[in-house]
Symmetry: C2
Subunit: 173 residues, 2 copies
Amino acid sequence: MARFDLHPELLTPDAFADYGDVIAMDGADKRVINDGTTIRYHDLAKIDVADENGRPLVSIFRASAVQLPLRLWLMERHPIGSQVFWPLSAEPFLVVVASAGPSPNTGDLRAFHVPPGTGVNYARSVWHHPLISMNATSDFMVIDRGGNGHNLDEVRFPDDTDVMLHGYDASKS
Amino acid sequence: MARFDLHPELLTPDAFADYGDVIAMDGADKRVINDGTTIRYHDLAKIDVADENGRPLVSIFRASAVQLPLRLWLMERHPIGSQVFWPLSAEPFLVVVASAGPSPNTGDLRAFHVPPGTGVNYARSVWHHPLISMNATSDFMVIDRGGNGHNLDEVRFPDDTDVMLHGYDASKS
């Protein structure tokens, strides 16, 4: 029996750079529009879905809350499209990713704590765990790819491998 | 001096069909995913931004609140791209639209009350007033078109024309 303990680190653009974009208003390109009545925080993620057969899909995901520590079970990737998750509640959430490659390497997993008011955009082919909502059932706006083409790979962790995701401890970040 | 008084009607997909999509979880195509932990409300809007020079932009708009009645001043349209507005607060908002055509006809304006948990997607070329937030400064996730090409027309109402937008009165809807 192998066991891996994953402790989330705080999400930052630098730490997440190999996996995609951090979506946030802080540091964004701000533009005053509509005769001064609105500020546009412009172009927050590299949406990568519009190949010749692809089109952007807007969906809402409603995720059940999990208890931590959580035994992770599944990693997935979208080989031909990016995927945005933007939280519609004020709850933080957790993401777990692994570097690109033919399959996710258990020793290569990283977990990130995503603070309220922040989203992520997984770059194409980045391995990630399905949505992990804490505290309460939570909704997320999702922008990913629709259209023909193979856009989902899934890999389950072996039964004899426990990958345990723990809660975020700000004092250790 | 000409005066037009606009009274919002409740947003419904049928009433809004000529202008674009109502984005809502009610009535959506629901799919259970991620081994039963998540429900996907699938493909909620016809995103129409990915022509040969276009790409999807994700931005956040922060709109100042207005006082009603509001004298409307400006209509705009995006001739080569759709535009999603999804509210990130629990506040309702108002949209004002006019039928497609070379310029918005003042007598042809319609106003809609968008209840909390609901968004809109303006179809390309649909005339609409800039974002109208009530009650409090509010944030919206916006998905529109980036890339080269002429994608903004604006028309201001004449000084001698007062187009007054009133609050939504549910008892009259």
